[in-house]
Amino acid sequence: MPGWYYDKKELRNTPSATAGLDFKTEMRYRKEGARFIIDTGMKMDLGYNTTATGVVYFHRFYMFHSFQQFPRYVTACCCLFLAGKVEETPKKCKDIIKIARTLLPDHKFTTFGCDPKEEVMTLERILLQTIKFDLQVEHPYQFLLKYAKCLKGDKAKLQKMVQMAWTFVNDSLCTTLCLQWEPEIIAVALMYLAGKLSKFEVMDWVGRSAKHLRWWDMFVEDVTMDLLEDICHQVLDLYSQPAAAKSPPESPPLSGEKAPISPKNAANGNERTQISPEQPPVPALPRLPPPADVPQFPYQTFTHAPPPLASYAPVSFPAPPVNTPPPAPPHIAGPPPNVFPPYVNHPPPFPAVGPPPPYFGNGLPPSQSQHPHRQYFQPS
C-alpha cells in the first residue's frame, strides 16, 4: 500500500521541482495554498477538521502534479470543496468560488479560467484519482486533546500550553509536515514546543510507568529529541521567513519579526539551535499580553498575531483521568463535541443521506404506487 509520508529528499524532488520550480518557491506556493484554504474555510464557517483535510489533500496533490501544471488557487478550492463533502460539511462549489473571488486579486483569479466552476469540477476527478480515494485524514488536533488530558500540573499553565500548541498545529498546515510525519508525532512535537515556550514543564502524567522517560513515550515510540526539534523548527521557520520587503509581491505579508535564531532551510535543517525559553525563537511568544488586551482572532495563527488567549473563558481543565469535557483550545470553529472523535472522524452535523440536502437535490420522491415484488404474505 502506498503511504503518504515522504523523506526530505523526496520533498525536494517533486513534480514542480522536476519542472523547474525552485524549492523556496514551491514551499511558498504550498504555504499560500494552505493559507488560502484556511481563509476560505474560515469565511465559510467550515470547521478546523474540514479545513485541515482540504490542506492535506492539497499537499498530497502536489506530490504528483506540479504547480506549473495546476494553478494553486484552483487546486485549493477543489481540495476544500471535496473536504467539505468528505467531512459532512458540504459547501456549494459556486459559493466556494465566490469567496475565492473576494479573497484573491483579479490577476490571480484569472487562473480559474472563463468557467471557474467547470474548472474545479474537472479537477475534482483528477484530485480523487491522485489521492487514491484516501478520503479519511486524521489531524494532530484530536491527539493534542487526547494527550493533554493525561498531563498533570498547573491547570492554567497547561491550558495555556494546549492553546499555544493548537495554534502551532494550525500553522503547521502551511508546512509540509503532514507529508512527513503522522499526526500523533506532530501533536507531540508541537506540544513540546508550546511547553517550552510557555514554560510548562510536564513533570507527571497519568499512566506514567518506569519505562516512560517522557510523557509522550506513552503514545509514540522511537521519537528522538532531534526529530522533535526538527518538526518544531519547520513550524518556527514560518514565523522567521522574510517579511514583506523580501518576500515576493504575491505572498501575503507576514507580521512576524525576524527571529533571533537564524532560519535554517525548512525542510533540511540538521544543525539546530536548541529551543529554549531563554532564547525564544518567536519574540512575541514568551511575553503574551494580558488577556484583556488581546484582540480576538477567529482562527489563530502566530504568523499574524500572538495567540489570543483572551477569547477563552477559563475552563476547568479536566483532572486526569476523569472524563470531563476537553479543554477549550483555540480553534477555527467550535470545539469538538467529544474529546475523542467517533470512529469515523467527525460525526456528520447534518442529516445528509436519503433526501439529498437541498442543494444536492436531484432525486425523485419514492414512488408510492409500486406493486409488491413478491406475493403478499397472507397471515393466517
Partner: protein, 392 residues
C-alpha cells in the same frame, strides 16, 4: 530569483487547455487503476447511485468482481457525497460479513468523455443475494441453515454498529451470499456514521431512509435521533422472510406500513412504547388502537421453532429502546440450541445458477421499480435490454 514565477507570468507557466487535456489523458495515476483491467460480464443490479456489473479480472480470469458505477451525470456538485460516504465507510469496515471493497477504478479521461473519468467501486463478487435465493422455490433452507444466515447477518450488524455505522437500508436484496455460504452486508449507499449524543444534543438524522417494507416504526413516526435499532428491525423483517419467503409487511404508503405494523406488533401508544407521543408524526398518523400483539401467533405457522419465534418477537419490538441489539440477538438461545447453525455451502452447491433479485424472472414482468426505496437516480433505466438473462 523567485520572481521568475510571479503571477504576471501565470499564463506562461500554467498549461494551456489543450496541454492540460493531453496531460490528463496521458497521466498514469499510480493509485487508481483503469477499469479496463476488468471485463464486464453482465449487469446484475442497480445500486443507490449507479448500475452494478459482474466483471472478470483480465489478469486473473478466475476472479470475478462486482463493479458499481458511480453515476455523476446529474450531479451539480461533482462527485456525489453519497458515494464519498459509501467509500469512506467501506474503507473503514473490514469484516467477513461486510462486502469487501477492493479498489476504485476509473475510465481514461479523453475527448470522448469530455476529459471526465467515470468511476467504479470494485467489490469481491458474491454469487447470490438473499432476495434472489428466497424467490427461488427450489432453494430450501433447513433450520440450521437459516440460523447460519441470521447469525452471520447479526455478526455483520454487530460489527458495523460497534464501529458506529448505521446501515439504514436493511433488506433481503442487500444481503449477499457467496457460493461458499458467507453472508455479506452490502450497499452502504445510505449508511452513515452515528454518535450517541452524550452531549445531550439529539441527532437530526433524516428519517427518510430504509425501504418502506423494512422501515421501523420510529422512522415512520418521524424520529430523527435514531440509532442501531433501525437495522435490527430490518433484521427481524428479514428473519421472518426466511420462512415466509416474502416480505411480511408490504405497505404502499407510510400510513399503511404503520397500520400493518400495528396489526402485527400491537397498537402503538405510550403504554406499549413510552415516549412515542413525543415523535414528530405521532399525531399526524392514524395509529389503530386496541390491536393485540400477534407476532408469535401469526408467524408460528411458518416458523414452528419456538426459539425462532421468540427471537423474532424480540427483534420486532415497537419501542426501539427495548428492541434486542445485535449482541443480545447473537446470545439468544435460537443460535445455541439444536439444530446448531449449519454451513450453507453444501446447500448452495446444488444450485449452479447465480440468484439475484435483480435477475429473477418472475418479478421482472410486474416490477419495474422493484422496491419501495429511497429516490434512486435513474431507477427507471433498470431494465434496459441485453443483461436480463441469468448469469452462468
Amino acid at each position: 530569483m523567485q520572481s521568475k514565477h510571479h503571477s504576471s507570468h501565470h499564463s506562461s507557466i500554467t498549461m494551456s487547455m489543450r496541454d492540460k487535456e493531453k496531460y490528463i489523458e496521458t497521466f498514469s495515476f499510480p493509485y487508481c487503476e483503469e477499469a479496463t483491467k476488468y471485463q464486464t460480464v453482465a449487469k446484475i443490479g442497480q445500486g443507490t447511485f449507479g448500475e452494478v456489473f459482474k466483471a472478470r479480472d483480465i489478469n486473473n480470469p478466475k476472479k470475478f468482481v462486482a463493479m458499481k458505477k458511480v453515476l455523476m451525470d446529474n450531479e451539480k456538485e461533482g462527485f456525489p457525497i453519497t458515494a464519498l460516504r459509501e467509500i469512506r465507510i467501506l474503507q473503514l469496515l473490514k469484516h467477513d460479513n461486510v462486502v469487501n471493497l477492493i479498489e476504485i477504478c476509473r475510465t481514461k479521461a479523453s475527448l470522448h468523455n469530455r476529459y471526465r473519468s467515470t468511476f467504479y467501486l470494485v467489490f469481491d463478487f458474491c454469487e447470490h443475494d438473499l432476495a434472489g435465493l428466497l424467490s427461488n422455490v427450489n432453494v430450501k433452507f433447513s433450520l440450521g441453515e437459516i440460523k447460519k444466515v441470521m447469525q452471520q447477518l447479526l455478526n455483520g450488524l454487530y460489527y458495523i454498529h460497534f464501529n458506529k455505522i448505521l446501515h439504514r437500508d436493511m433488506k433481503a436484496a442487500n444481503v449477499l451470499i457467496t457460493k461458499g455460504g458467507i453472508l455479506k452486508l452490502a450497499d452502504f449507499g445510505l449508511a452513515r456514521a452515528f454518535s450517541t449524543s452524550k452531549t445531550g444534543v439529539p441527532n437530526r438524522f433524516t428519517n427518510r431512509v430504509v425501504t418502506l417494507w423494512y422501515r421501523p416504526p420510529e422512522l415512520l413516526l418521524g424520529d430523527r435521533n435514531y440509532g442501531p435499532p433501525v437495522d435490527l428491525w430490518g433484521a427481524g423483517c428479514i428473519m421472518a422472510e426466511m420462512w415466509t419467503r416474502s416480505p411480511i409487511m408490504q405497505g404502499n404508503s407510510e400510513q399503511q406500513q404503520l397500520t400493518l405494523i400495528s396489526q402485527l406488533c400491537g397498537s402503538i401508544n405510550p403504554t406499549s412504547w413510552p415516549g412515542v407521543e413525543k415523535l414528530d408524526m405521532y399525531n399526524n398518523m392514524e395509529l389503530p388502537q386496541e390491536q393485540k400483539r400477534k407476532v408469535k401467533e401469526r408467524l408460528r405457522p411458518y416458523m414452528k421453532d419456538p426459539w425462532a419465534v421468540d427471537l423474532l418477537d424480540k427483534l420486532l419490538t415497537l419501542d426501539p429502546s427495548k428492541r434486542l441489539d445485535a449482541d443480545g440477538a447473537l446470545n439468544h438461545d435460537f443460535f445455541w440450541t439444536d439444530p446448531m447453525p449449519v454451513d450453507l455451502s453444501k446447500m448452495l452447491a446444488t444450485h449452479t445458477q447465480s440468484m439475484f433479485e435483480f435477475l429473477a424472472p418472475a418479478r421482472r414482468a410486474t416490477q419495474v421499480n422493484r422496491h419501495h426505496s429511497m429516490p434512486r437516480p435513474s431507477a427507471s433505466s433498470v431494465q434496459d435490454g441485453g443483461y436480463q438473462d441469468r448469469v452462468f
